[in-house]
């Protein structure tokens, strides 16, 4: 079908940009409030950002968030890769995919409650591990989808070629397939890290004594309400999320996880 650059086409683009504008609008106010000075008439300030580091509870929460984030990014990516291989090699791909995508269709509170009950009855009380597990379960569907999409563009003939050349299953995977689905792997890791940083509801139900940055924001809001320091913290999270996505897009992965065409020249 020839593409017509008609008036409708331009109007559609305008509509699309308007929707994007509305969707992005809520990312602006926290950043505005975070640089507003305490007394009116002053110039822009970064004092609220500096104040963040004087709160020991928050500094501890940032540490927890980083630790959990790294564990979740690694675990969800490895599990997502395994799930993608299971979908390809087992006889019941739809069933495996349905199992992997199940957490997408369970409301956060329900999933949090279920995991909390499970941990309680199992007598499992390690706060850090509980947070990491519940967040990995949340990130896994996304990681699986991203790896599966990358893998679907990989031609299994390359694997056959590796077997013919005398490579074992493991060697063929590491030396041939892995480099070709690299963008899927890095996409899964980036998205899992971002999802971990931005998760509240599930974490809040199972957290135990430890706080993540998100549960700190939620509990501070419920106890004392919003403050410029809290806006500063939210701005940092927004900037971090945008920076991680940008790093992923710029960092070699020229194809988006939504539909990547893996380039064999990428080796």
């Amino acid at each position: 079908m020839p593409r017509r650059r008609s008036a409708t086409w331009f109007l559609s683009w305008c509509g699309l940009i308007a929707v994007l504008f509305v969707i992005y609008l809520p990312l602006v106010p926290p950043i505005l409030f975070s640089v507003t000075p305490a007394e009116p008439g002053g110039v822009l300030t970064l004092q609220w950002y500096l104040a963040l580091w004087r709160d020991p509870v928050l500094v501890c929460a940032i540490g927890t968030s980083l630790e959990v984030g790294i564990v979740v990014a690694a675990a969800a990516t490895i599990l997502g890769l395994g799930a993608a291989m299971a979908i390809r090699s087992l006889r019941v791909p739809r069933l495996v995919l349905a199992l992997m995508l199940l957490p997408l269709f369970v409301p956060g509170v329900s999933m949090g409650l279920a995991t909390a009950l499970f941990f309680r009855l199992a007598g499992f009380e390690i706060s850090l591990a509980k947070i990491a597990i519940v967040q990995t379960a949340w990130a896994l569907p996304f990681a699986t989808l991203i790896v599966v999409t990358a893998m679907s563009t990989f031609d299994p003939a390359y694997l056959e070629a590796a077997y013919v050349s005398g490579a074992g299953r493991w060697r063929a995977f590491v030396d041939v397939e892995l480099p070709l689905i690299r963008s899927g792997i890095s996409g899964a890791a980036t998205f899992s890290l971002i999802l971990s940083f931005n998760e509240t509801v599930r974490t809040a139900v199972v957290q135990g004594p430890l706080n993540t940055v998100q549960t700190y924001i939620w509990s501070t809001y419920k106890q004392v309400g919003l403050s410029p320091a809290l806006y500063a913290l939210m701005s940092l999270l927004i900037l971090l999320t945008v920076a991680l996505v940008a790093a992923f897009v710029v960092g070699g992965a020229r194809t988006s996880p939504a539909a990547s065409g893996v380039n064999p020249r990428g080796r």
Partner: protein
């Protein structure tokens, strides 16, 4: 030999084991606990419908109705917005531009929705951006009160949270349609509107339902947006579960959760039975394997 066995089976078995132990098992446990009894602060195994009676008799049934209505509204609005966007991206722009726009839609989704809800309370508030703009342009003389802490506010919060993610399944099913079918319809003399209604729309229904189920379930169990944007006392199902948990009534929380899970499972089952999922998943799962 052992290494070959591990590479072949252990790696794919790992995520399945993880999902069974940390997703399926806890959800099954929720259903079991909903029949247990609470003695003081201790939860004991039993088989009673007390929690369900408490749920269906109390004011929580109103919360159920409200959640149901709000979720339907948000889902329909989301579809009306997401479908044209997905259609435009699938048929009218280059794949490269489509991928860029899809990535742009994921960024706000990834930013914590609680943070976005806080931002909306300012945007919609009496002294917020929207009321300021409305008054400056002379459209209204007084700030609109019903923009925040109302059904409208919750609806805005829900639609802006879930609509971006509805675009993906819609785009996936629309771009998977065989173009020759559309061309055939055109060649047989059908005008564009008729081609859309009789060919494109029916073929994209699996995506429509996937998007609708995702949004409906998400809205139905939402717990933060109603609290932040609905104002004091505004509750949806997620809040019901959370408030039952706050008073340590785990059987009641589990019972409400089971009702939500049951609604979700029946929707998924309808989807699974009504559509050939392969037509939809064929895009991402290589067939014939």
């Amino acid at each position: 030999m052992l290494r070959r066995l591990l590479a072949r089976w252990a790696f794919p078995a790992l995520p399945i084991g993880f999902a069974v132990v940390f997703v399926v098992l806890p959800l099954a446990l929720t259903i079991a606990v909903s029949f247990w009894t609470r003695v003081g602060l201790v939860v004991r195994p039993a088989f009673t419908f007390t929690s369900y009676e408490a749920f269906f008799a109390g004011a929580r049934l109103l919360v159920f109705e409200r959640s149901f209505l709000a979720s339907i509204e948000a889902t329909v609005l989301g579809l009306l917005l997401a479908y044209p966007i997905a259609y435009f991206l699938a048929f009218k722009v280059s794949p490269r531009a489509a991928r860029t726009v899809l990535l742009l839609f994921t960024v706000p989704f990834l930013v914590n929705y609680i943070i976005r809800a806080f931002a909306w309370t300012w945007l919609l508030g009496r002294t917020g951006l929207i009321n300021t703009l409305l008054m400056a342009s002379g459209l209204t003389n007084e700030p609109l009160d019903w923009l925040l802490y109302s059904d409208v506010a919750v609806l805005i919060g829900l639609v802006t949270s879930y609509m971006p993610f509805m675009i993906f399944p819609l785009w996936l099913s629309l771009s998977g349609i065989d173009r020759r079918l559309i061309q055939a319809s055109w060649m047989l003399g059908a005008p564009p509107a008729r081609t859309f209604l009789r060919v494109t729309l029916p073929l994209s229904l699996p995506g429509v339902f996937a998007a609708a189920i995702f949004a409906f379930v998400g809205c139905f169990g939402e717990s933060a947006i109603p609290v932040i944007m609905g104002g004091v006392g505004y509750q949806m199902m997620g809040n019901s579960i959370a408030s039952a948990m706050d008073v340590l009534n785990y059987p009641l929380a589990a019972a409400i959760s089971t009702v939500v899970l049951g609604a979700m499972m029946s929707l998924l089952l309808v989807w699974y039975l009504a559509f050939d999922a392969r037509a939809f998943l064929g895009m991402i799962v290589r067939p014939g394997k």
